[in-house]
Amino acid sequence: MRVSLLEVRDLVKHYPGKGGILAGRREKVRAVDGVSLSIARGETLGLVGESGCGKSTLGRLVVRLEEPTAGKIFFAGQETTGRTGRKLRELRRRFQIIFQDSSSSLNPRRTVGAIIEEPLANFGVVKGECRERVGELLELVGLEPGDASKYPHEFSGGQRQRINIARALALQPELVVCDEPVSSLDVSIRAQILNLLRELKRRFNLSYLFISHDLAAVSYLADRVAVMYLGQIVEVLPAEGLVSQARHPYTRALLQAVPEPDPQQRTGQKPVIRGEPPDPASPPPGCRFHPRCPEAREVCRQEEPVLKKVGKGRLVRCHLS
């Protein structure tokens, strides 16, 4: 068995609930509520879920942009939780993040060269070498070395995302967290970036934590897929078995809700689940999915299911499987 590069154990992140004197006391928001997962070297784990399920928070916890409330994160066998200052910085170069909004993740007042140089300079690469590396990185992501002198607003959304990728790869990280990297891009550009990410992964044996609400995009890049609902992982399964082997009712509902770009497959449009995810500040008792679950039974309303192994590399959090 391969060594896991990233290991997350019982990670919890609670935010103080909003609302002041007028709103009265409110429960804290349980953005991430006891998540455990691991990613092997060179592996891509897709993390899917609807907005507000905590997937982005989880991504930020992993690269230590947020402090977890509880739980542990291990990177290449070393615990990153609890590390601060220089000890954390040393590890930072080994894991990077790419954000969804390609324009707000680039400082509008700095040139592309300065943006990509920043991580290099942070870790003591000398000026002349920096410039050379920036050129190489720009070419790597399909831009011109001459683009280094331009400003982010001179590029289109897809090109800006390439710049983000170049910056993330500057320090030759082992793990890259991709937080919805293609969601704000146009269809034709989306495919370009997905292909680029895939090629870079093969070339540098990168591991990705690929966060997206787009199941098709996830299945295109990921080796394994983890499905999140209300701060918890409800199912983990190999990507190739996503369509055929999904067991959790939520995963199946998600799969059926994705409209296929094929008019022949139009299936009476009966949405499988109704309603919207409840407020993460007050998750329902029992199984968190039971109020929307078409198969919910009495036990689902009473007891909270645990994530249990149902096959090789497959985990499901459901009483019925």
């Binding site: 998600l254 409209p259 094929d262």
Partner: protein, 324 residues
């Protein structure tokens, strides 16, 4: 298929006169929608699909201007009728739903007030009657507890509920045509599926035509009868949805279909390059720089939309080697 078009758009052009030059956002778009049918208007951001929607209702603000074209509805050209009459048409005959329901709803008024206002601004009925109709509408859109909902403010609703309210508001006066501009783009897939299903159901009930503007080919496949593909302000392909998806004729349509990731598909073939700048559109086919099938004829005049099959048309020189 019954073919009585309710909405007919002919040669619509909308330009924006900015200090950087003229942005030709819509450049001679033509299409029709039949009663009870759905037309999907697909394209990437900046292709002019939203501007087309706004132009139909004459909602273009300076520096934008509708330069030419006709929009026929009920035997009158919406681009020519006086503003008074236009106000009657808006809402009653054609309604609009936008992508972001939060900015389209007034944050300081309750849902009930806004809905009732929409209804009684156009119809001579009492406030109580308007509210009763509003409750009924919300109920028909699958919103739970509509009575309570009427008393809530927009910020108290989730994104999906807000969008349903927007749809309810748009349908309040039973319009003949609904223009939905990316109505589910900001929503989660499970919520999207629900709203699309409600739309479909209400369309059957009310017999209205829908112009569904989206970039999501999956939504187009699931919802529409006809599809028009837009690129750089022009419609490059138009036809029955099954036909266009099965036998895409325009290279852009083909490339677009190949670049969508699908569950269980292994390879993606993206369209390389970027869409052209609308500031200085070339005289030739706008897709030429990204086209893999381009030939000598493509450097000539911009191709016209020509029929290539029953109800199926495309604007590409390569499809008509004998012409032009």
């Amino acid at each position: 298929m019954s073919w009585a078009p309710v909405l007919k758009v002919k040669n619509l052009s909308t330009y924006f006169y900015t200090r950087y030059g003229v942005i030709k956002a819509v450049n001679g778009a033509s299409f029709t929608v039949a009663a009870g049918k759905t037309l999907g208007l697909v394209g990437e951001s900046g292709c002019g699909k939203s501007v087309t929607a706004l132009s139909i209702l004459r909602l273009i603000e300076p520096p934008g201007r509708i330069c030419s074209g006709e929009v026929w509805l009920n035997g009158c050209d919406l681009l020519k009728i006086p503003p008074r009459q236009l106000r009657q048409v808006r809402g009653r005959e054609i309604a609009l739903v936008f992508q972001d329901p939060l900015t389209s709803l007034n944050p300081v008024l309750t849902i009930g007030t806004q809905l009732a206002e929409t209804i009684d601004s156009h119809e001579e009925i009492s406030r109580a009657e308007a509210r009763r109709r509003a409750v009924e509408l919300l109920f028909r859109l699958g919103l739970p507890d509509p009575e309570r909902l009427m008393r809530l403010y927009p910020f108290q609703l989730s994104g999906g509920m807000r969008q349903r309210v927007m749809v309810a508001m748009a349908l309040a006066l039973r319009p003949k045509v609904l223009i939905a501009d990316e109505p589910t783009t900001a929503l989660d897939v499970t919520v999207q599926a629900q709203i699309l299903a409600e739309l479909k159901r209400l369309q059957e009930e009310l017999g209205m035509a829908i112009v569904l503007i989206t970039h999501d080919l999956g939504v187009v496949a699931a919802m529409t009868d006809e599809v028009a593909v837009m690129y750089a302000g022009t419609i490059v392909e138009h036809g029955p949805v099954a036909e266009v998806f099965d036998r895409p004729a325009h290279p852009y349509t083909r490339a677009l279909l190949r670049s969508v990731p699908r569950l269980g598909r292994e390879e993606l073939a993206p369209v390389e390059g970027q869409p052209p700048s609308l500031l200085n559109l070339p005289a030739h086919c706008a897709f030429l720089p990204r086209c893999l099938q381009a030939g000598a004829a493509c450097r000539g005049e911009k191709p016209e939309l020509r029929e290539i099959g029953p109800g199926h048309a495309a604007a590409c020189h390569r499809l008509f080697p004998w012409a032009g």
